[in-house]
Symmetry: D2
Subunit: 161 residues, 4 copies
């Protein structure tokens, strides 16, 4: 059994056609799992729907608390890319003994050009086979939490030497 | 380094608008990797573009030969779902010591409702972390080659007890 | 008030993932109107769901009967492209005094690469402003029923000189 | 012969994945015409790429000047929805004797849920058959420039009584 915690991020941004801007509604994760015909046994739980630039330690503590107390030992966290690595470090310090994979998207799922479905398929797969630890799964690759950074100029995640 | 062998299947079917039917053109795999912003180092090689119901031992021998002789030890094979399990068994008998993951799609990538991008993200992830062996990766799950069958009535892959 | 008669054709073909082939289910027209945020007052009525190559005079008589007896004087007929011109001619002979626009698609709406939504927006617009007569609306253009043919080699509709 | 003037608006907004926000790049109109298999003879000319809330009389004068001086007598203008009606009124006062249709989208074309392709098919069709005048074509409907307003609360265009 697996748990997916939703926290928002680009992944889940949608277009608010009344106000003409990006915003958050319900998460797209269940729809994406249906599209992927996912047969993975899992529970999706939305913790918050925020831009990761607005994430503070208050939100991180909530993510930590839910990751620690849930029964599942394999967890995917969807997260904005800008502070994904910070949250990964926070989880690594506070939630030992579980396999936690953070993922997200560079382009909202609601856009035709989104990498979201690819990343979700990737994260769900890594989390099933990696040993306990905290990882970032983006661009088809996984990184240990302390071996990765987001290169904001290029919009990619890259390994720290 | 990873290699992706393309063999066709639903995954890569496209719509021939002149003749009004499904057919094969070039593979969509490179376009899908671009969409997924994949940063995985890999080479894509098209071996054939056929419906897996038309696959005979001649084609399977070709897949085996290329999997055995290529330098990469981690290989993804895109394949039609109908005989994916047969080809997996064939590979298991003839290509020891490599991690080979077969994947495909229930709906062509060119359709809006395709599971292809999710499955490709999944297969590329499993192949990077699983030990040597031959696996089928569909629906977010991986199966050892001798522990899976396609349930044609439901259109899903399921574990053999 | 406007009426849309659905007869099938490429426009409405969908992918049957159990059998791995194109088939017909329910029409996509209501979903397409929702996507287009259509505010046109209209009623959608499915007359049949068939490939237009299989259309005989029995089906054409049914289309004629419904076009003649419905109260609306402005009608869109969705239709397979292969015999769209034949049905247009049949309607022109049997349903005087109404504006009837036939449209369809070269690629099923369910495909990302479909021209269906463009053609539906076009046909609904032409039908609101053209004088009584029977027309084909494809590729952003309208043709009087006796001034058009489908060029099957190129997959386009073109004016007869 | 027809001319399409592009001015930006929601229609053409794209997602800037480096900065995580909506922005403008090149217009999507040529790609949309290709998708619609448009056979309409036309020239696309980008005048500006701006949000219509930022449009001032300086930009409107430029649109007027190009509409007046171009040889075509049938013109489509793509435009943000928020001030589409103001620009329509401006054109009506300054460009007599031509058929000008303004259109746009409630959701960017780059989103899967966009009404853009439907509206473009509609606008291109109305402009070919309506008499000289300035019109707004949205939601499958056309309105004379002085008989329409945008209902911002509902996100629709509606007829003025």
């Amino acid at each position: 059994m697996l748990r997916v915690f939703v926290t928002g991020g680009t992944f889940d941004k949608t277009y608010d056609e009344i106000h003409g801007r990006l915003s958050f509604g319900d998460t797209h994760v269940p729809e994406m799992l249906t599209l992927g015909r996912s047969r993975v046994e899992l529970t999706v739980e939305t913790l918050m729907m925020i831009d990761s630039l607005e994430m503070t330690d208050i939100e991180r503590e909530r993510i930590v608390a839910r990751c620690a107390e849930c029964l599942e030992r394999r967890i995917v966290v969807t997260h904005g890319t800008d502070t994904m690595v910070e949250t990964a470090a926070y989880l690594a310090r506070h939630v030992p003994g579980k396999t936690i994979v953070l993922t997200g998207a560079m382009v909202p799922y609601a856009f035709g050009s989104s990498d979201g479905l690819f990343n979700l398929g990737s994260a769900l797969s890594f989390v099933q086979v990696l040993p306990p630890g905290v990882y970032v799964a983006m661009n088809g690759t996984h990184f240990a939490w302390d071996r990765v950074r987001k290169n904001r100029a290029l919009g990619i995640f890259e390994a720290l030497e």
